[in-house]
């Protein structure tokens, strides 16, 4: 996984709400195939930073580059067009529809010939391509014809993640943003989602995951970025990170790794 250009790079990001500095001179980057965990206490600015990445918020200062090209995101659709996909916590799936329909929503396969001109979909092709995509990600869920409402929470999250993965995979070096992907899941289901995140990263997708779940970070993340009160206080490899130090950075009891950071 040797790549020189970060898939997503933010530099000097500042975000002001009136006099409140939600984000203060944040630099962060993700390489293709890398999982970066964004940690911090409530109100540290994790979600704000994620919203900046996904195009939901425009930063007051700073630049965003995708694959080395600078972008200005006016709306989430701009970010999506650049290859940045946000996977929402509330599972944006259509519950009464089956897995294949959900995976193909917005890019349905049409039948060939006159029936296709009338807008008839090719259900078999959609089922096959969904199966293929899920196999490629190594997740065998329920049959493709099963409605999403009849899946367990973990299976749903897997389908939601797989859908985003399929979507960003079209562009080279897609970027996925995950907000608390395991928030509502039990232990086993969390394990499955962890494995899926790893596998998506192995396919070259850059992943930023916001979470409160420290064990999850050590399992899936390559690098930890820790925010405290809108400032980046630590940026270190997950392997070999001292867990007490990490907790110290999150709570603010430990000195920042960047004590001399000057606000521009």
């Amino acid at each position: 996984m040797v790549a020189t250009t970060p898939a997503l790079e933010l530099s000097g990001i500042e975000m002001h709400y009136g006099f409140v500095r939600a984000l203060d001179d944040i630099d962060i980057h993700v390489m293709p195939g890398e999982v970066v965990a964004l940690l911090g206490d409530n109100g540290a600015g994790k979600s704000t930073l994620l919203k900046v990445m996904s195009g939901a918020h425009r930063p007051s200062h700073g630049t965003i580059s995708v694959n080395g090209k600078e972008h200005t995101f006016h709306a989430p659709s701009d970010a999506a067009a650049a290859g940045v996909q946000m996977v929402y916590q509330d599972l944006s799936l259509v519950e009464p529809q089956d897995i294949a329909t959900n995976l193909n929503l917005g890019q349905e396969a049409l039948r060939r010939g006159p029936l296709g001109w009338l807008g008839f979909v090719d259900r078999k092709a959609m089922r096959r391509s969904s199966e293929r995509e899920l196999d490629r990600l190594g997740v065998r869920t329920a049959p493709m014809t099963r409605p999403v409402e009849m899946l367990s929470g973990g299976q749903r999250q897997v389908v939601a993640l797989a859908r985003s993965a399929i979507r960003v995979n079209g562009e080279a070096g897609g970027i996925l943003l995950l907000d608390e992907p395991t928030a509502a899941l039990g232990y086993e289901q969390t394990k499955q989602v962890e494995a899926l995140i790893r596998r998506m990263a192995d396919q070259g997708i850059a992943i930023v995951v916001v979470t409160h779940d420290l064990p999850l970070c050590y399992e899936v993340a390559d690098r930890l970025v820790i925010l405290n009160r809108g400032k980046k206080v630590a940026d270190l490899l997950a392997a070999g990170a001292d867990r007490d130090h990490v907790v110290g950075w999150i709570t603010g009891s430990r000195e920042s790794m960047f004590p001399t950071a000057v606000t521009s």
Binding site: V94, F120, G138, V139, R140, A142, M150, G154, E188
Partner: protein, 363 residues
Amino acid sequence: MTTNPDVAASGVTTNPGAAPPNPAGQDMPRSISVLVFMRDRGIFVLWGLLIAFFAFWCSPYFFTVDNSLLIANAAALTALFAAGVGIGVMTGVLDLSLPGTAAVASCVCGWLLTEGYATWIGLAAGMACGAVVGIVNGLITIRGFNPIIVTIGTLSVLSGLAAVIAGGYTFPGLNQLEFMGTRRYLAFGDSFTGIPAPVFIVAGVFVIGTIFLTRTRDGIRLMAVGGNAEAVRRAGINSNRYLVLGFVISGLLAALGGLVSTAVVTEANPAASPAIIFNALTAVALAGVALTGGRGSLPRVLVGALILATITNGLTIRGIQPYWATTLTGALLLGSLAIERVIQSSVSERLMSANLSVHQKKV
């Protein structure tokens, strides 16, 4: 259930090498399949039971070809409006303006025919009214207003307009429309007098509608918008377009319903009867179409309308006051709600335990 080896396949296996072959649909315990069948197809069973019951109770008058045609014809109008309400509800909007749309469509048609225009012009104009009403409803609703309030508003506007068009009277004597009203087709010999026109119209509407909703891209997206408009939007689809489309379809069906009822009585009446919408809603609710949207199917709506007609017909044959039909229908609706709740919760319960057992075994 925990020992059923097939259940294992329903879990998400984290190890691709260990994933067992997973033939589609074969991994659910039998009890869940039966319950799901009852939930999705229970209304057909219910209708079958009703028919069997009346066939014995009202023998020999009920279970005959003539009587079944009578029921089909009686159900036709309710079914047309129920299709409109049903498609609206599946798209996530409850369109209450249907009676108004029907009244305006039939009055416009009646006025044009009385003025001496060709029959097809009158019918086309009536259907166009339905489309326009749908577009207006849709365009107002996507501005973020509650569809129920919006359509109550348009209902008032439309019933007023219909009365204005008719000048406070009706348009009687529209015999040109007899071909889609009381005329019967496919008569066979002396005994079989043919099938009434409205039955053909309803059959066409439901066949086309069902194919549209389940087989075409726009139909599937329409249902998806009803299920979770936000998810559809995030998939990069303009969900508002489909909301408007839902209103247009329901407006068109309302207009068609208005035109067929005009044809049956050969008179265009500007009175927008709220009973239309409540009958249609009863059929839709009986069909188990969740008012939250995204669920349901047209064949079930059709059976819902047929059940209403069957009950009325059977009780009439036995000479029981028609008020009892309404009472019985209401009781049936409440009972089906209770059964659906029980089935739904036991399905989710069983699925939950099945999934949990998978994870405990697998990992």
